[in-house]
Symmetry: C2
Subunit: 209 residues, 2 copies
DNA sequence: CCGTATAGATCTACAGTGTAGAGGCATGAG
DNA sequence: CTCATGCCTCTACACTGTAGATCTATACGG
């Protein structure tokens, strides 16, 4: 049957994981599958289509893990599970993050993830009218975080030279200089951010719920 | 003098704005300047260097506007000014957003923007030790939002067919279905999110300040 | 004023890219 | 057996970024 398509997508995933998204050329994928470049087109339509398929395959993996994640009664641990899953996916497949921003959640797997978040927010007591917005708020933050982390916005720039010194041009930097020096524990910061977002959700629930 | 470099960057910006980032090729830029492709290299080192220069030029524009934005005494309006400036920059130059994720804030203009946010958070009463984290939280959300908006994650997918129906597979969608139908007012949602983030900042200030 | 150094622009060429188009070949249907 | 359909191959085209050699015009020291 159409196992060929899966084979192609799988090969493309492998290449992306080890050589980055830039390494995914039709020729490279074709060679990995053991076929000429043009032989991919009956199965994939386009290079864009191939990229979409790759992303879909990844989200399907997440979708499989989702039932376990949605098992808990506590909405907090489910929200946390989403955040952690997204982050570890991004760490494992950095190239996928840019794709996430450009494709809306239309595949069943992606919608399933959104549904998980909707459920968590409802259980938290958020009024239904606010649920879609808060879901977008949380997932937008999470996406922004993982994009920053895997894209390099956090690392290794931020040279102490520019930010620590130059206190006159950047007075607020001078005021917080002491907390700019130590290397950041990104795991802890992510957790702290999620704590704050949890509180934000709670306050919306209390305010309007 | 080195006005040639600015001319090149300017031409590249113009091309990116009207044809997208994909339209920015060395040949296209060269033609716009009225010169052969290789003539760009004494001024720009690389294509990556050109892209960096383009982003820098944009952030410099923001930097020029910043003093006005930082004029207010109210930290809330300054934070709002940052958010609005970032968003309108993204609407005007969608291609720039992906670049933002990959380059840390090292240019003076970018650091200046961070400094503006640090100052706002300090004025809000956030303890200095929490300021860098909260700055990253806010700016990460803002970046995530503008990337989603200009990248297409919000638009025009989200087909009511998939999300509205299929209530059995996606129970939480069914519960909020009434609020999924009307078209979203993105301006209002962005404003509401920023309201919530303001409250988050306040609560951190009260808790630990 | 003249030779020369230097920086900028040019031309050519190479190794890539995605993919359109035409032809081949084998398998299943009538 | 004939034919059609779907997958594959090969060739070719219009691109991409940029290395390397060459040419030119400008500015400077004698």
């Amino acid at each position: 049957m159409s196992g060929k398509r899966e084979e192609i997508v799988e090969a493309a995933l492998a290449i992306a994981d080890e050589r980055g998204l830039g390494g995914v050329s039709m020729r490279a994928v074709a060679q990995a599958v053991g076929v000429t470049p043009m032989a991919l087109y009956p199965h994939v339509k386009d290079k864009a289509g191939l990229l979409d398929a790759m992303l879909g395959r990844l989200l399907a993996n997440v979708g499989e893990a989702a039932p376990q994640l949605s098992g808990s009664q506590d909405w907090r641990v489910r929200l946390r599970a989403f955040a952690d899953t997204a982050r570890s996916l991004a760490m494992g497949h950095p190239w996928a993050v840019t794709l996430l921003f450009s494709r809306p959640a239309v595949t069943p797997d992606a919608v399933g993830t959104v549904d998980l978040l909707y459920g968590a927010l409802l259980d938290a007591g958020v009024p239904p009218g606010q649920v879609p917005r808060l879901e977008r708020l949380v997932s937008t933050y999470v996406l922004g975080w993982i994009a920053s982390e895997s894209g390099g916005r956090f690392g290794p720039g931020d040279p102490r030279g520019v930010r620590g010194r130059a206190g006159d041009a950047f007075p607020a930097h001078a005021a917080v200089a002491d907390w700019l020096l130590p290397p950041v524990d990104w795991d802890a910061e992510y957790a702290a951010d999620l704590d704050d977002l949890e509180r934000l959700v709670e306050s919306v629930a209390e305010r309007d719920g």
